[in-house]
């Protein structure tokens, strides 16, 4: 019996090649897309699962309440981790700080942007296995280094690294390799390829750090003892801060609150940043897209199969006459649908294997090492394929097997009107989903383009930024560059837009004439900074060499800061007093707000002051003529002035836009999956169009004999389908508007959802649908009517 079914199934597939092809292609593409999304979602949700104690590890984060605002920070102050171990509930507490460190081995220099400083319990708390060295002691001594296997290979080749010396930073401190660790897994929230003992900082550089309660910086984690109630423990933390730091808090009027974030939630759910951050919203969005795509593919399947049911009616009739039971027929048709799904399954596996690397590139990380390394996924996929075969096969199977032999064998069989209704609503939902995805894609891209083209309030083009990392040669380099032909201006500063900047405890005279306390963002700059970046001075003046006091007693605010202290016009702020980090003086100028962070963030109050030391960034405003030779000259000047560090530079506009990397990835993924959804929907439409055209061949013939023109016929055939597509648009608009509005809410500066987004999506959907249908109908409309009439 089964052999017979198989035979019939395969011959049917072959006889109706176009349908089979569309069916299998749609399913394959759908399952592939869905599977890739599954791997992505699965990966995103797998962060930090590999730590055996991850259920007991929490990240400690701090809010800081100042008189004017509450700052949601990430790291608590330096003193928290060393002191929190006084609680019996706490097993270990670790500070982890990422830093750019310059290493020197022999004469070779390496700049490691992902270097970590960590407290001694790092390797006993987290499951980062050591290949060499003792996890309990590797980080105990100052100047101890644990290298990742990759880095060990890079530095030492085949040499034994253990016990060897590497020089650290510009100061060239000799550090000893005490351990080799496995490279951190991709799905780790802590990123780094070398770990330096935190004691290097706390013992060698700043012995008081461990007791500094108002100095915020590194990330901190605690491992709680088994059975500890984290919520109850969290409630004890205010008392803990009060006990150690109460006095200072009152004095500064800065009140921190500590919170515990479960380690597993940090990557996807924390809004406080991290080494790497994901977004639970994106995970949900992609899961929904994946589900939609598989729905679209299944709908195709149902549509194409039921559309063809009339053709199979005769077979059903004959089988029934011969004695087939209804259940046997149902099984036969479900079997056929499963066979199709199995073919699609095999193709899907192949396609996934092919696409693995491109998908990793697309998502920007190694999401999967290949399907054959995850055989359980192959199994899941098989189940999904079987499930689709079953679900999508059931409806057509029951439709087909319920045909009455008496009716169908008489040839009186007409394609049921109810079947049509179902098919139509399925097409509508398919296109609704696709159109919604198109709208989503347009919104994401429009927002991206908006962010890129937004006036940021400063000059970002033709500005080269050189990382000087506070090297002592920075000032000399600035002087050298100033003299170059194609260099317009040079400025040395502690921050440039998008690099991040310190914030400082400040007191500024407000509208009432009192010194108001606040924690304010702070840029260290020099005299050339404001002119170089063409920032607009809206009141007072920029820093000037003409005023001796500017280097020690002057401050420039942005408009947001002016507003914060209650002034209604920028002019009012000029000449007011400030105290900040050991400096006292007057506000000399106000600059127009500029985006020193990404457009996701609102512009915060900012202070600027002159700093004369060697700072981290050298901004160079360039003339673009002879760019190549200018760049070469600059590099040469760098090597001469800062021989100890590798040359690292970037153009500011690119660097600023790099902040949108994850949105960009999101956009690309979104675009790709929308294209797939549209593609699959079109396959279904193509199938239906060709089917209905086939059915109406005779009608078309008669109409043409009666004088209908080709455009008449095209109109006749496309109208119904285009109506469906238009209807789907009505479903898509509210749904996508709702979700995209939510998505846009993440951006402080965003586009409005205007009508053209929807109009464009509608246009795209209609065009694509029309072209698809045209492909089929044009053929029918242009055939000689005598041909089609003869077939009857």
């Amino acid at each position: 019996m089964f052999k017979n079914y198989f035979k019939i199934a395969f011959r049917n597939l072959w006889r109706h090649r176009l349908f089979s092809f569309l069916n299998i292609l749609g399913l394959t593409v759908g399952m592939t897309a869905c599977f890739l999304i599954f791997t992505y979602v699965n990966f995103e949700t797998s962060y930090d699962n590999f730590h055996s104690k991850s259920d007991r590890i929490y990240r400690i984060v701090a809010d800081l309440k100042t008189p004017t605002e509450v700052i949601n920070g990430s790291g608590p102050s330096w003193a928290v981790a060393p002191h929190i171990t006084e609680f019996p509930e706490v097993e270990t507490a670790i500070r982890v700080m990422q830093n750019v460190i310059l290493f020197k081995k022999g004469n070779v220099k390496f700049n490691e942007p992902e270097a970590l400083f960590a407290d001694p319990d790092f390797f006993t708390t987290f499951d980062f296995p050591l290949v060499k060295g003792d996890s309990k002691t590797v980080l105990t001594e100052p100047l101890s280094i644990v290298l990742s296997e990759t880095l060990a290979k890079k530095y030492f080749g085949d040499e034994e690294p253990m016990g060897k010396t590497i020089l650290l930073t510009g100061d060239q401190l000799p550090a000893t390799v005490t351990g080799i660790m496995k490279d951190f897994p991709e799905n780790s929230q802590i990123k780094g390829n070398v770990v330096v003992s935190m004691t290097t900082i706390t013992k060698k550089f700043n012995a008081r750090l461990n007791d500094q309660w108002a100095n915020y910086s590194p990330y901190a984690y605690v491992l709680l003892k088994p059975g500890t109630d984290a919520i109850a423990f969290e409630k004890k933390l205010p008392g803990f801060l009060e006990k150690w730091n109460g006095k200072e808090m009152d004095q500064l009027q800065m009140y921190p609150t500590l919170f515990l974030e479960p380690m597993k939630d940090v990557y996807l759910r924390s809004t406080r940043g991290g080494f790497v951050t994901g977004n639970i919203k994106n995970v949900y969005i992609f899961s929904i897209i994946g589900f939609f795509i598989i729905c679209i593919a299944s709908i195709n399947f149902i549509n194409l199969t039921t559309a063809r049911s009339a053709e199979r009616a005769k077979e059903v009739g004959i089988r029934k006459v011969i004695g087939a039971r209804k259940t046997q027929l149902v099984l036969q048709f479900i079997g056929e649908s499963i066979i199709i799904c199995m073919i699609a399954f095999i193709l899907t596996i192949g396609l996934i294997a092919l696409l693995n690397n491109s998908f990793n590139d697309l998502s920007g990380k190694v999401v999967s090492t290949g399907i054959f390394n995850n055989l359980q996924y192959v199994f899941y996929l098989l189940l999904v394929a079987l499930g689709i075969g079953l679900l999508a096969g059931i409806y057509p199977a029951f439709i087909l097997s319920s045909f009455k032999p008496v009716t169908v064998l008489k040839g009186r069989f007409a394609t049921g009107a109810n079947g049509n209704l179902l098919r139509k609503s399925l097409v509508v939902s398919q296109f609704a989903i696709s159109t919604a995805l198109v709208i989503g894609t347009i919104v994401v891209y429009a927002q991206m383009s908006f962010m890129r083209n937004q006036d940021l309030g400063f000059k970002k083009d033709q500005v080269l930024v050189i990382e000087t990392n506070g090297d002592s040669g920075a000032k000399a380099l600035k002087e050298t560059l100033k003299g170059l032909a194609n260099v317009n201006q040079v400025s040395l500063s502690g921050s440039v837009p998008a690099t991040g900047n310190p914030s400082a405890y400040s007191e500024i005279e407000n509208i009432k004439g009192e010194l108001q306390k606040a924690n304010l963002d702070l840029f260290f700059v020099d005299f050339d900074y404001i002119p170089l970046y063409k920032m607009e001075v809206v009141a007072g003046r920029a820093f000037s060499r003409d005023f001796m006091t500017d280097t020690t007693q002057a401050m420039v605010l942005n408009e947001a800061a002016v507003k914060m202290f209650g002034y209604t016009s920028s002019e009012q702020a000029i000449g007011k007093e400030f105290k900040q980090w050991g400096r006292e003086g007057k506000i000399v100028g106000v600059i127009k707000d500029f985006h020193f962070q990404s457009l996701q963030q609102p512009i915060k109050p900012l202070t600027m002051r002159i700093e004369q030391g060697n700072m981290d960034y050298l901004s160079v405003s360039l003339n673009t003529s002879n760019l190549q030779s200018t760049l070469a000259t600059i590099e040469k000047a760098y090597q001469k002035n800062i021989p100890n560090r590798p040359y690292s530079y970037y153009f500011l506009d690119e660097f600023f836009d790099r902040q949108y990397k994850s949105e960009e990835k999101f956009g690309t993924l979104f675009l790709n999956f929308s294209l797939l959804a549209i593609f699959i929907s079109c396959l279904g439409l193509l199938g239906l169009a060709s089917y209905s055209t086939m059915q109406r061949t005779k009608e078309i013939g008669v109409r043409k004999v009666l004088g209908a023109s080709v455009p008449n016929i095209l109109n006749l055939l496309s109208k119904d389908f285009l109506k469906l597509v238009a209807m789907s648009f009505l479903v898509a608009v509210p749904v996508s508007a709702y979700f995209m509005h939510k998505w846009l809410n993440d951006f402080a500066y965003r586009i409005n959802l205007s009508w053209w987004v929807f109009a464009l999506a509608m246009l795209i959907a209609l065009t694509v649908a029309f072209l698809t249908i045209m492909f089929q109908t044009l053929k029918a409309a242009t055939t000689n009517p005598t041909k089609s009439l003869r077939t009857e």
Binding site: M1, N4, K7, I8, R11, N12, R15, K314, E315, G317, I318, R319, K320, V321, I322, G323, A324, R325, K326, Q328, K404, P405, V406, L409, K410, G411
Partner: protein, 228 residues
């Protein structure tokens, strides 16, 4: 001889939106085992409707239909299918072969549904194809055969299960006279071997092959010509 089919006051209506058509109107007659009966009458008088009910493809709206001593009017679809596949073979005017299956596979199909073992199936199918002189075409598909050949395959398929009853609805309607005679010859041979045959036809010539002609008009029997 026993009656194989006892039909009494059989009724069948077709309801369309407004009109109700009476297809069978208090029809009564018997068919004995081993008989060859022809049913004749003008187009639309209810012949095919009757044959479908006898063949258990359709259910009557009234009256009684006793098949082999069992009242089958009111049987559900599944019971009818089971009774049908063991007892009844069909031959249609339009052959009704499955296009996706070869000659051999088409003939084999009823045996599959009655659960005959593969080895026995092969034997049975080859025997029947041999008898219908269509063995040389066993691996062809229906579209590759002439009408006469297709009808021979259809007859082969109808008899492969050794049914007690063969129902033929205008079996020669789509054939030229020589192919038509071949088919009638086949039916006669089957009847000689003991199979009961009921045949609907418009051809007086074909009807002469039967033992008895039932003439119908507007859904009931008008006359009966006993030929043998």
């Amino acid at each position: 001889m026993n009656s194989m089919i006892k039909i009494k006051d059989l009724e069948k209506y077709y309801r369309t939106e407004e009109v109700q058509t009476v297809a069978l109107n208090k029809l009564t007659f018997d068919v004995k085992e081993g008989e060859f009966v022809a049913i004749m009458g003008p187009s639309g008088c209810g012949k095919s409707t009757l044959l479908n009910i006898i063949g258990l493809l359709d259910d009557p709206d009234g009256g009684s239909f006793i098949f082999n001593g069992i009242e089958v009017a009111g049987f559900n679809e599944r019971k009818r299918a089971d009774l049908r596949k063991h007892n009844i073979g069909f031959v249609f005017q339009s052959f009704n072969l499955i296009d996706e299956l070869t000659v051999y596979e088409n003939v084999e199909l009823p045996l599959i549904y009655t659960g005959v073992k593969p080895a026995d199936r092969k034997k049975r199918v080859e025997e029947v194809l041999e008898k219908m002189q269509i063995m040389h075409r066993r691996n062809h598909f229906p579209q590759q055969l002439s009408g006469g050949q297709q009808q021979r395959v259809a007859v082969a398929r109808a008899v492969v299960n050794n049914p007690k009853l063969i129902l033929a609805d205008e079996p020669t309607g789509n054939l030229d006279s020589s192919n038509g005679n071949d088919v009638m010859q086949l039916l006669t041979e089957l009847n000689d071997q003991g199979t009961t045959v009921i045949m609907v036809t418009h051809s007086e010539h074909d009807a002469k092959y039967s033992h008895r002609i039932i003439r119908m008009l507007d859904g009931h029997k008008v006359t009966e010509d006993i030929l043998v």
